[in-house]
């Protein structure tokens, strides 16, 4: 794969719903241990179950996985998972802000909110990755990433457990890449 050494990003932002846990787990277990960018992940999850997801990801991840507190600084080489029952926003000063504002797209955390705020804060200095999922949350946020010249990757629907989420994004814009989970891992390791 071509090396993207000239491109400098401030963050990788990922969103997914149904079926995305195994994809995220696979990516994190194969990512280079010296990966230098922060990875921010917003996954739909059960609101009343606080623990389990982050511990599950930690088991195999090559990078530390954190459920951030409000106003936590974003640091390279760490994975930040949106906490259950909170929206996760990215601020211009590279901190995370959490919110209990109303559910959006029937979801809290909402993937659209995370992508949209990241697009505002990082503009072209981010990679947005939308994974498998069973509703349309994330599509509009990814379109905003695309509109602000961020690099966009949508999981190839042919490799998705549920295609609704990636297909919703593909109806709104043409991403830079359509990749399988392995392709996404290879891309990240090439950065």
């Amino acid at each position: 794969m071509q090396q993207n050494t000239a491109i400098k990003y401030k963050a990788i932002v990922m969103g997914g719903s149904a079926g995305s846990f195994s994809v995220v787990s696979k990516i994190l277990s194969n990512i280079n241990p010296d990966f230098k960018y922060p990875i921010l992940i917003c996954m739909h999850r059960l609101k009343h179950i606080r623990s389990g997801l982050v511990e599950g990801l930690r088991l195999k991840s090559n990078l530390p996985v954190i459920e951030p507190f409000d106003k936590e600084n974003i640091e390279g080489g760490k994975v930040y998972l949106a906490p259950s029952n909170y929206h996760m926003f990215i601020e211009i000063d590279a901190t995370i802000s959490l919110s209990t504002e109303e559910v959006f797209n029937h979801s809290r955390p909402s993937i659209d909110y995370t992508f949209s705020s990241a697009a505002t804060s990082f503009r072209e200095k981010m990679v947005g990755i939308l994974l498998t999922g069973a509703n349309k949350d994330g599509a509009i946020g990814m379109k905003e990433v695309h509109a602000r010249n961020g690099y966009t990757i949508v999981q190839d629907p042919a490799t998705c457990d549920v295609q609704t989420m990636p297909n919703a994004a593909l109806q709104l814009f043409k991403p830079n890449k359509l990749l399988s989970p392995q392709g996404i891992t290879d891309f990240l390791n090439s950065l």
């Binding site: 009343h48 606080r50 459920e67 951030p68 507190f69 409000d70 106003k71 906490p83 029952n85 909170y86 926003f89 601020e91 211009i92 802000s97 959490l98 919110s99 209990t100 504002e101 109303e102 959006f104 659209d112 909110y113 949209s116 705020s117 505002t120 509009i140």
Partner: protein, 268 residues
């Protein structure tokens, strides 16, 4: 995602609000201001910022703003494990001083959750609960004791996780699209119709519930709020934050962490 005022508009709006409400709105987190003012514009059908500014200055829109701007909790017993801690850890530690304070009460759910826990423990008659809110409409709603049935399944699901002896129906009656909390539970509430920086309870407080309120402040306002609360609470008083909030590094020497998983602090 609603469309709201631009950056320059937000600056003018925060100056006007700060003057009118005696609270520095510029110290809310900027991204939150942008989102929440968009929400207010949508809720109040505001088309022009100039008109909104005139209505702030004249006072015409202040009550509607105070009702719509803050973020409510939306569910009874959000984080059931926290409410179990209130019952099993905080209440036994309080003894006879059952004075509670909600410095920024935005919706009824958090207050009703406490009332139900107190009733379950047969402590209602000993309790006194102070609530700061600028919204008169909110106070009237809380006094009516009604919550929408929209989230009733969430309320009941959270309630079940509390593992109380009582049933949900022991506290609420469902009528005409609402669940109404039994009136007797609302008798021990004192409403303070101003923000907590300007108005504090006239009594020593044993436990302050301030969950998920500082999420919307910037770092400066969070520090100020923590210092102000510490100054107005006595040594050993409990301060409860949301499970994803922490006391700022600047003020961590002012508080002792009583329960790290539920972010329950005590004043040092």
């Amino acid at each position: 995602m609603a469309i709201g005022p631009n950056i320059n508009d937000i600056r003018e709006i925060t100056v006007a609000l700060s003057h009118k409400l005696k609270l520095d709105y510029a110290n809310y987190a900027f991204s939150f201001l942008r989102r929440r003012l968009a929400h207010v514009y949508c809720a109040l059908k505001i088309k022009k910022t100039d008109t909104f500014l005139e209505d702030i200055h004249s006072g015409n829109v202040i009550q509607d703003f105070c009702y719509n701007f803050p973020v409510g909790e939306g569910e009874l017993f959000r984080d059931p494990s926290f409410w179990r801690s209130v019952r099993t850890k905080i209440l036994p530690a309080l003894g006879d001083n059952l004075t509670f304070w909600f410095p920024e009460l935005v919706s009824a759910e958090e207050l009703y959750s406490l009332l139900i826990i107190l009733e379950e423990e047969k402590l209602t008659h000993k309790a006194k609960i102070f609530c700061n809110t600028k919204s008169c409409q909110r106070i009237e709603e809380i006094k009516q004791g009604k919550i929408s049935l929209k989230n009733i399944e969430i309320h009941k699901s959270n309630f079940k996780r509390l593992e109380l002896h009582s049933k949900f129906e022991d506290f609420f009656t469902e009528e005409n699209g609402y669940a109404a909390i039994h009136e007797g539970l609302l008798e021990k509430i004192v409403y303070l119709n101003d923000n907590f920086f300007n108005c504090v309870p006239d009594q020593q407080i044993a436990c302050t519930l301030f969950r998920n309120r500082m999420l919307y402040y910037n770092g400066k306002m969070q520090c100020k709020a923590e210092e102000y609360l510490q100054q107005n609470l006595s040594k050993g008083a409990f301060l409860v934050l949301g499970i994803k909030e922490q006391i700022s590094k600047e003020n961590e020497l002012l508080f002792d962490l009583f329960d790290s998983s539920e972010q329950i602090y005590q004043v040092l």
